[in-house]
Every structure is written in C-alpha cells, then in structure tokens.
Symmetry: C2
Subunit: 227 residues, 2 copies
Amino acid sequence: MRAALQDREPGGGRIRQQQEAAILEAAERVFARGGFQGATMVDIAQEAGLSKSNVHYYFGTKADIYRAVLANILRLWLAETDRITPGADPREALSHYIRAKMRLTAERPEASRVFANEVLHGAPEIGDFLRGTLRRLVAEKAAVIEGWIERGRIAAVDPVHLFISLWALTQTYADFEVQVCALLGRPALGGADYRRATAHVLNLLLRGCGLDGGVVSEDVRKEMPDA
Amino acid sequence: MRAALQDREPGGGRIRQQQEAAILEAAERVFARGGFQGATMVDIAQEAGLSKSNVHYYFGTKADIYRAVLANILRLWLAETDRITPGADPREALSHYIRAKMRLTAERPEASRVFANEVLHGAPEIGDFLRGTLRRLVAEKAAVIEGWIERGRIAAVDPVHLFISLWALTQTYADFEVQVCALLGRPALGGADYRRATAHVLNLLLRGCGLDGGVVSEDVRKEMPDA
DNA sequence: TAAAAACCTGACCAAATAGTCAGGATTCAG
DNA sequence: CTGAATCCTGACTATTTGGTCAGGTTTTTA
C-alpha cells in the first residue's frame, strides 16, 4: 500500500519557494490538458519558463510533481463543508455549499480536470484518500443530512448519492467544458454562463430535497463576478 | 479541420470481421483504463490475444483504432432520445430516457470512460461531432421541452442545462466509479447499487422538473437485472 | 488441388522522453 | 569580501513505443 499523499513542507530559500510554485501552477495546466501520461517534463518546463533540468532539480520525478499538484487540489476540495451541521438551516447550508463548489469549478477548472482524470483512471494516487479521509467526511455529513430528514426538514434523499450528484452536477461544467460549450454555442464559459449554471443546479438540487421555490437569479448574480 | 468521424464499412472476410471486433472490444477496455496516451499497442494486442503486428495489420495506426472505438460509442449514445416528442407525456418520456441512459452506463462503463477521457482532454477527435450532430440533436430536443414548459406541463427549466445535468448524473457512476465505490464502501458497483442510483437520479430530475411524487423503487427493479 | 488472396510473425527502426550528472553561475551568510 | 550553499545548464543515457517490412502460413476460390 502506497504512502499517504501529503503536502510538501514549505522549506527552502526564497527562490525555491517561487520556482516550486511556478512549476506546480504550470504543471496543473499541463496535467489538465493531457493527464499524467500526456504531460511531458518539457511541456511543464516550458509552461513554467524553466529548463527541463531545472524542473528536475526541484522535483525529482514527474510523479512527484503530479502528487504535489493533487495534494494542492485535495486541500482545496476539503474545505467548504463546514456549514453542513445538525443545527443549520438545510436550505441555507446546502445553497452555500453548492455555490461554493460551483465557484471553485469556475475559478479552477484545471484543478477539476486533473482530479477527474486521476479518478477516471482508477485513482492510482489518491485511492487511499478517497477510501479514508473523504469517505469519513462524507459519512459524517451524511449523518447530518439523515438527521434533517428524520426531523422532516428536507425530503427523503440518499445523502451519499446526494453528494455524488452535487459533485457531478458542478464539476461537469469544468470537466466537460468543451461539450458544454458546444451545446451552448459558446467559445468558452464566461461569468454569465456560470451564473446561469449555478441557478440551474441550485434549483435542481433544492427541489430534489423538497426545498422548492425557485432561486432568484439575483442571488446568484451577486457572488459570481464575471470571469 | 479534421475529417468527420465515420463508421468503418464492414467489408472483409470472415476472419477480418472477427478479429476487428476482438480488437475494438479489447481497445475499449484499454483506452478506458489509460486514455489514448496511456494505451499501448502491446496492451491492446495482449488484451485481444493477438500479436502487435497483427493488430497493425487490421488497423494501420493507434489513432485509427481509437477513432473506431469512439465511433462505436457515439452510435450507442445517439439512440434513445426518440421518445422525447412534443406530444409525449413528459414524465414518461423523461423517465424512459433517464433509465435508458443509466442502463447504458451500467452495461458499458468502459465506453463511458473512453468518451469522458476524450472530452476531458478537449475532444480533439470528436469536437466536430459535438458542435455539429450533437448540438443539432440537443437543440431539437430542447425545443420540445420548451414546448412542454410553455404549455405548463413541466416546470421552467433550461432544457440544455437539463441535458447536461442528466448526462452528468448518470455518467458519473461509470466515470467516477472508484470514488462512488469508496464512498459507498463497496468493492464494485452491482445491480443493487445501480438500481438505487437510478431511483435517486429519477427522483432528483423529475422533481427538478416539477414532476413530483417519488419513483416507486419497484419500477426500477424490474428493468435493471443484477449485473 | 493449385494458384491467389488473406492472414500472421519476428526482427528491426526512428522518435520521444524520463531521468542523470559534471560542472558552471548566482546568491547568501558571516 | 569570501567561502559555502544554492541554483542552473547542456549533453548524455536507457527505455519505451508506434510503426514497417520481408517473408512465411493459412484460407479461400476456381
């Protein structure tokens, strides 16, 4: 069994900090384009404005970079579920989480794609994370939602499937962006598109939980500035 | 601009038919595992029980195999929207399509993964298909749904986003199978899991269209045999 | 059954690519 | 200012891999 994915400790000099950040940022783009196999060290180096050897100086192997990129993404993913607590208002808590997830998708589509690619191909690196940390987190939040259901605050929905749906509905706008663009007849997704998508997803999920009453599109406009 | 993706004409002798089929079946599995880049000709050959040279005898290049696999998948994808017509009962028509999509996902998860990988990486092969045939089809069906909305038969939903949601919700069970398994604590998804997922997705989407009244799980059980 | 067509193989090649390394350039601590 | 640490480079290597080809084997056809 593979060692757990963990963040690199941020030691090293000024230059190291800067270059590693540049490499990780470049690598995220490159991995998003072609996956692990499709990315070459030369691509990453060029995208970061460095020589291939120099990239190897900071990160021993391509796999090291890949793991570091994934670790960054997972950190991003894990936040945002805080408001889902037994005492919270279901409508408010769910709306907040959905909006947060959608905003993340709009702002970091590449991160979403790297993650999608990893999971699509069997999660060789983050399998343990999925079966460990993530599973525990979801079980915990699912219990909260079960509580809401028992107290009649929302309709009966399988909470785990609800999370699966929520992620599918939001991330699809990043992962399948070309397809979405094709169907909407757009060259790329802009702020307006994401606002509309957010309203749609909110409607679908809230109604699915028996929390009807459409979302006023005003609500969405406020917190999603043009991309 | 690249030539349109088209089916191979099924000429050739008895042996050719058989071997090509074997290669395409094997290739779908291999491409599903690692994407285009991650698949090697040796992998495909081994999976098909042939020598690498022999695979090259039937298909000139790896890209040829890939395109043929995609063409097969697209053919599969395109069917099933027939019942979405102006005169149809929205509930019946949507249920039927959702169930069909879910069944396809359960039965051909590898096909779904190959498609997902292709789109995830910018749809270099099927971009034209997405912007052409698929867009036209969706526009046509969207018009039907707009009609339903105008006549007050279902709630106001953006039809194109509805299709995007529908595909995201169903295909996620194949594309992110490892993650779903991790969350459900299962080694693999079986018939029971897919039945539960189908009921969940049906509920979510039908309610989202204002067609409430939960789906009786009995309905689902009938048409999805154990995998 | 014999010629032709279709099928199959192993050896080979060229390109791509991850990773190494010796040594030079720059930066930094004292 | 100087020595040490850090940073950077270009040339090189080993391996993987898609694709070719000459020639052998099997199947089909007439």
